[in-house]
Assembly symmetry: D2
Homo-oligomer: 260 residues x 4
């Protein structure tokens, strides 16, 4: 990033964003927006060779990394690689909800133990590993103009706000992420790291095959009744840019017509 | 606002902001920021002739109005005047906390009935009157580019989140505002009006006599340990600009070192 | 209560219950249950001559008092009279929800200012006055076997938990009561007074003209889908009897089939 | 329990209580109280041969079972054994907080991955397994006089209410239990099973070596500043006995002097 041998002026510190979890929704919207504002951007996924991530690289210069976020060693390696390639992250987004197929609509008596265990592991334990590694690195960062050494954002879901019936395992995992985020916020904010929990209380839109974006639930007539991930990404950017004199910990985003 | 006789192109609709409650903190910061972004700005106060408000007029072209926000007729007249002078409001901030002297640190058995009554009236009843009138006018507005007919923001306090000891009357009033805001959000959001409740969980800084701003509590050594109203105003502006596919209802702002 | 001139043995202290707000639901159930356990029971109402209260006196020896609980002097007089007649209260129930006709289902723009004001006054301000007076007297009580000088219970409603649309004024009042209760709990519990907030998240059953009790909503087929006030009263008694090593502050009661 | 060949009158159904997690605090208090009221009582623990559990058997006829509550097969076997020996449980208490040594006071960057994983597994995943198996059996129970097929109680901790610093892993696990309990309550209550979450917001007293009980924190002078497990057990019994027209889902218990 800096030319060796150039003048002694320190380069202005550059934001390095790491998005853990990669798909066509929030992760892609964040990657595009962060890149557009001049950040160096990394995306990590179990399978970083998905076309949607390849496109991010081609079009927005986003770096792709392979990572199983529920494996301690894999998470440590990821952060090491990003630091080596781009610099120490100043903005980390944990964007894994960890749901496994069949987790919704299944009665508690029919719910499989493996499904519950894997969801806890994929969503909550990975949040712990990613949040922990982000804290380790960020505590070494110098504070930026807003007084922050970094920002850690956990994407969360309605089930973090309310345990819905027929989805006990998902309620466990989402509540666990909230508890972790709260604890980390109380611990790290006074050390200069902004921690935020962002439950999206809605279905989330996505980019369709033809490149257009879908934000209306099938079968409905109301417009914008799904959350637009491009707008979610804007909120993440605003959170990252908040001055430490006025940090928000939790922001729940929901479409105008959502019942709550 | 529009030149008579110019071409038939409709003028792009202009934001009209009305801030109810006027002092050197959040109200002034909002007025300055909103004016800077090109909004037409009105500020209402029991006494609109305070120097701090006169300065807003002189330096930022902010219009001043006299209003007792706990009087139904006074509130209706205020909105009528603003509509006539500037246009129908698209952004209304209720920024009155209504505390009366002595409300903190007084035991429940020593608390005066008048103090409790006046606080309820000043803070909560005025929020009802202002919110109601804002809704009446905004429902007639056309939706803007974000799908919104308007934004109503209630400034709130820590006591909305937690009833602290030795301040029961203030806890009542702040909780009442939260309840009102929630009810209005559930009712008005699906009609295109964004309603937000913003508890500031901290002491708030202010502009000092010499024009500099204070954001450190007396006797402390940590910097930025009071909420900077300029940054609070930024959050208000961001809320106003959110797309209706992803509205936040409640945002709690607190300084990095605040205990919670 | 004590015979003048009898032996020097101190009478065992007797529980004195004061129920403010009087109707055929929770108040009557509390009065009957408390009387049955041997407490001296007083009920206060704007109109203490309702047949349902006269019956409480006839059948359960409950004392009736006239009181406008939103008037400071009236509340002070009430407590003075009860102390004189029965002894200082050890259990006070504020059972006024203060709703005025038409408060539900009315849009915010159509809601009358008087309706909002009266509801705040009837429900929240009266809770302040009753809670304050209860605290004043109870702080003088000796602790009982459970370490308590007294118990103050606020009956509350669903609107304390969630601000529902089309009822902003009621949401204000119920939230205000919660805020007051919280503040009083944090202040008074360490002084030996148990304060509790009990939102009933349901429609409440009542005694019908023929003496039978109704606990099923009209038009439904599910049994027990309204809260039975006799069972609510049991919870109040249990709260009163809790040892101070394990006090509950808030208990939400709802029927098994209630959606929440 | 019933004599074969005796008269045709159906025996009144007997309560069978199963307490999962066994120590000298809440589990022992519950076992003693439940036995005293005539229930058949079972206690399950990883090591059922602890002296404190042997004493429960000797003095209170409590049946002991070996179970690793984080193992699906072990939990299923436990319930099968209890059903065979005592009958299908009507009251199940999950009383495992799952904390591992060193979980408190450790910074997020120093927290071990294994510690976090094991705590999630011990506390939250075991709650899922126990709750699921309880639901499976209870749904087959006939409703009792209160309309209930059974009661499932999750003991929880302060960390379920608030994520404290320096204990992120414990906050995760406790929040996860709350989320599960909420989901199960919304799902099972309309089917006649009472689900409750009981965060104890305090240190909990225990029985000391000499048989006396400790309820004061070391070094303090205030009495009753720890929660007395005998009183916690009373609340559990009251929850179990609530009529389904007025079920409480969450009850937070804290000593009178606790800060919150």
């Amino acid at each position: 990033m800096t030319e060796p041998g150039t003048s002694g002026t320190a380069p202005s510190p550059k934001d390095v964003a790491l998005i853990v979890g990669g798909g066509p929704g929030i992760s892609s919207s964040c990657a595009r927006l962060f890149a557009r504002t001049g950040m160096l951007v990394a995306v990590a996924a179990r399978n970083p060779d998905k076309p949607v991530l390849e496109n991010l690289e081609k079009l927005h210069d986003v770096r792709r990394y392979k990572c199983d976020a529920s494996e301690p060693a894999s998470v440590e390696l990821l952060f090491e690689s990003v630091r080596r390639d781009l610099g120490a992250p100043t903005l980390v987004v944990h964007n894994i909800d960890g749901r496994v197929p069949g987790i919704f609509g299944k009665s508690i008596q029919a719910a499989e133990a493996d499904m519950a265990f894997d969801t806890l592991r994929n969503a909550a334990f990975s949040a712990f590993l990613v949040g922990r590694q982000a804290a380790r690195l960020m505590l070494e960062n110098p504070p930026n103009a807003n007084g922050a050494k970094g920002t850690i954002i956990f994407t969360n879901a309605s089930a973090a706000l309310k345990g819905f019936p027929l989805s006990g395992a998902f309620a466990m995992a989402c509540h666990a992420k909230s508890g972790l985020a709260q604890s980390m916020a109380r611990e790290l904010m006074p050390q200069g790291i902004h921690v935020a929990n962002v439950p999206i209380d809605a279905a989330i839109g996505w980019t369709q095959e033809d490149g257009t974006r879908a934000h209306r639930r099938a079968g409905t007539t109301v417009d914008d009744n799904m959350a637009d991930p491009d707008h979610i990404a804007e909120t993440y950017l605003q959170l990252h840019r908040q001055h430490r004199s006025t940090w928000a910990f939790e922001v729940v985003l929901r479409p105008w017509v959502e019942k709550w």
